[in-house]
């Protein structure tokens, strides 16, 4: 409840921005074919709603699966790098960073070449753009574990695995959530690029297909839906974070 009430401030700002945008276009600031007015976008959201919805479902599935893959792979990767601090990590980490610099228009056709025309190449693209933040934040979370805690566990004769399970893993969880929230925001826009890889459906495809047809308002509508989707996912993750990590949000107080 409190979250919903707090949301009115950004909503107000958003409405203000949309108002300015509407004025700008209506007063002739830009050609509607290049920058449509908000009311045109809204109109497209209504008239094209079934088209937008069916394509949204396609993209949503790709994004959710892609993030899931990125989360599992990213987490596993981070744990592996954490356990192999001296050998794997210095070798792999720079490559990981480099992987983010490869332009997607180069990767996408390559993936189609290897993986065909199904959902797989799109999953790989989405997973690729989301994977990085999860690895980085999880690894940072694992590395930031209090060394004194680890020492304490060693005096309890804890095995490496038990130290990981009882201390390092729970300590790193806030980091995992942070990485996931970033990943979610990035993945949704990544879907637009992902659908360059052998698609004939999805909001990204619809967006690309609408531009040469000068259906710019519809292209914007597709993006608006993607943005809203990203916000919803972000909010859901924040909720999940509060449920999974109640201790990080509990009020602190001293009892006598």
């Amino acid at each position: 409840m409190r979250v919903a009430l707090r949301g009115w401030r950004p909503l107000l700002l958003l409405i203000l921005l949309i108002g300015c945008w509407e004025l700008y276009v209506d007063l002739g600031g830009a050609d509607p074919l290049i920058l449509p007015a908000p009311h045109q976008v809204a109109s497209s959201l209504y008239t094209d709603r079934s088209l937008l919805w069916s394509n949204f479902l396609v993209t949503a599935r790709e994004v959710l699966l892609g993030i899931l893959v990125a989360a599992v792979a990213g987490f596993t990767f981070a744990v592996a790098l954490h356990f192999s601090k001296r050998t794997l990590r210095p070798a792999v980490y720079p490559l990981l960073v480099a992987s983010q610099t490869i332009p997607i228009p180069i990767i996408a056709p390559l993936l189609v070449f290897w993986l065909g025309f199904g959902i797989l190449p799109k999953l790989v693209v989405i997973a690729l753009v989301s994977f990085f933040s999860i690895v980085v934040t999880t690894l940072a979370g694992l590395a930031a574990v209090d060394p004194d805690l680890v020492k304490l566990m060693r005096t309890f004769d804890a095995s490496r695995l038990r130290i990981f399970r009882h201390v390092e893993l729970p300590s790193a969880l806030p980091g995992v959530f942070t990485g996931a929230k970033i990943a979610v925001a990035v993945a949704v826009i990544g879907a637009v690029f992902a659908e360059q890889a052998g698609s004939n459906s999805g909001l990204g495809y619809l967006f690309q297909e609408s531009l040469p047809q000068l259906l710019t308002a519809r292209a914007y509508a597709a993006v608006a839906i993607l943005s809203a989707f990203a916000i919803v996912l972000f909010a859901l993750l924040s909720l999940a974070e509060r449920l999974a990590l109640p201790w990080a949000y509990a009020p602190k107080g001293d009892l006598p």
Partner: protein, 335 residues
């Protein structure tokens, strides 16, 4: 928290399993052949005959299970074709020659659009009705080398010094470039696409087609396959080509039904626009000589265009030009 991991993994696998089954480029049942056809671009009016054939079951009747794919970028179709990832691709005559120049063993088996669609387009207020009026103007194009060569050829044809025309790379954004006034005209827009868009917007476009101003005529859209496919599966290609031909012929008899099938398969398309585009393009889908079958490619014209590419240093290997196209799979041919 631990308890969420296993169900999450299971959910992933389940969702992935619900995905589309992978394409296979191999025979399925005893009677139907799987076949992947990659378009040159997003589905549009130029492809109306293909979607008509699909909707009417012409492919099925021909024993083919055709899967249509949309490319991620304009270079993909021939790349993927050469790499064996698709069985047939739609592309442009210059691209086929460029590919063969790179020793890619590809061959064009049918012309889908029998003449150039590429044009010099400008909005009415610019008053560029003839090529001579390009002097001193800014022309936008997508930066493709052969488009640059078209411009040079046109200017030479009109005896305009090349330096007097400013060529600007506007990428794919031809119409916005014209609307914003950043360029006076564009080269690369199609007279059956962008020009119709501009007309529907009330911009009264002026159109100068390539083959009207000194560029040798060519087939704008062609159907391309690997040479090896022609050798190993000529019958399959023949059935594909002739089924597509039937599709275009059906559209000629009933263009509205054709548009309905095009838009039915691609709900993102605008019916009104596609109808106008299909009507405008219809004549170009068929050879000028009615005794030639649908898809006819004129060897003389292909050779002339190939020579033009050679003399403009767009290709270097004369062998690329010979045998770049064949009519043997068309109806009534090669038997």
């Amino acid at each position: 928290m631990r308890r969420l991991v296993v169900p999450a993994v299971l959910l992933t696998l389940l969702l992935a399993a619900c995905g589309e089954k992978q394409e296979s480029v191999s025979p399925t049942g005893a009677n139907t052949q799987n076949l992947t056809l990659m378009l040159d671009w997003f589905p549009n009016a130029d492809h109306v005959g293909i979607y008509e054939a699909l909707a009417n079951g012409d492919f099925k009747t021909a024993g083919l299970d055709v899967h249509i794919e949309v490319p991620s970028n304009p270079a993909s179709p021939l790349e993927l074709l050469a790499a064996g990832k698709v069985d047939a691709a739609i592309s442009y005559e210059p691209e086929v020659l460029l590919a063969r120049n790179q020793n890619l063993p590809l061959v064009s088996v049918a012309a889908i659009v029998q003449e150039p669609l590429t044009s010099i387009v400008s909005i009415g207020s610019k008053h560029i009705q003839t090529a001579a009026q390009l002097r001193g103007k800014r022309v936008g194009d997508a930066g493709i080398p052969y488009q640059h060569a078209y411009l040079e050829t046109i200017l030479a044809h009109e005896r305009i010094p090349p330096g007097s025309v400013k060529e600007i790379n506007v990428g794919d954004n031809l119409v916005p470039a014209m609307l914003s006034g950043r360029v006076d005209a564009t080269l690369g827009a199609y007279w059956n696409y962008e020009a119709i868009e501009l007309a529907q917007m009330g911009k009264h476009p002026n159109v100068i087609r390539m083959n009207q101003v000194g560029v040798p005529t060519y087939d704008e859209l062609v159907l391309v396959v690997r040479e090896s496919t022609l050798v190993d599966h000529p019958d399959e290609i023949r059935r594909l080509v002739q089924a597509i031909g039937r599709g275009y012929q059906a559209v000629r008899s009933d263009p509205n039904a054709g548009v309905a099938n095009l838009v039915g398969a691609n709900p993102g398309l605008d019916s009104k626009f596609q109808r106008a585009a299909v009507r405008a393009t219809l004549p170009a889908f068929f050879p000028s000589n009615p005794s030639n079958p649908w898809g006819w490619q004129d060897p003389v014209q292909w050779n002339a265009y190939g020579q033009w590419m050679l003399s403009n240093h767009l290709i270097t290997n004369p062998a690329a030009v010979a045998d770049a196209s064949t009519n043997e799979e068309l109806a009534g041919q090669g038997l």
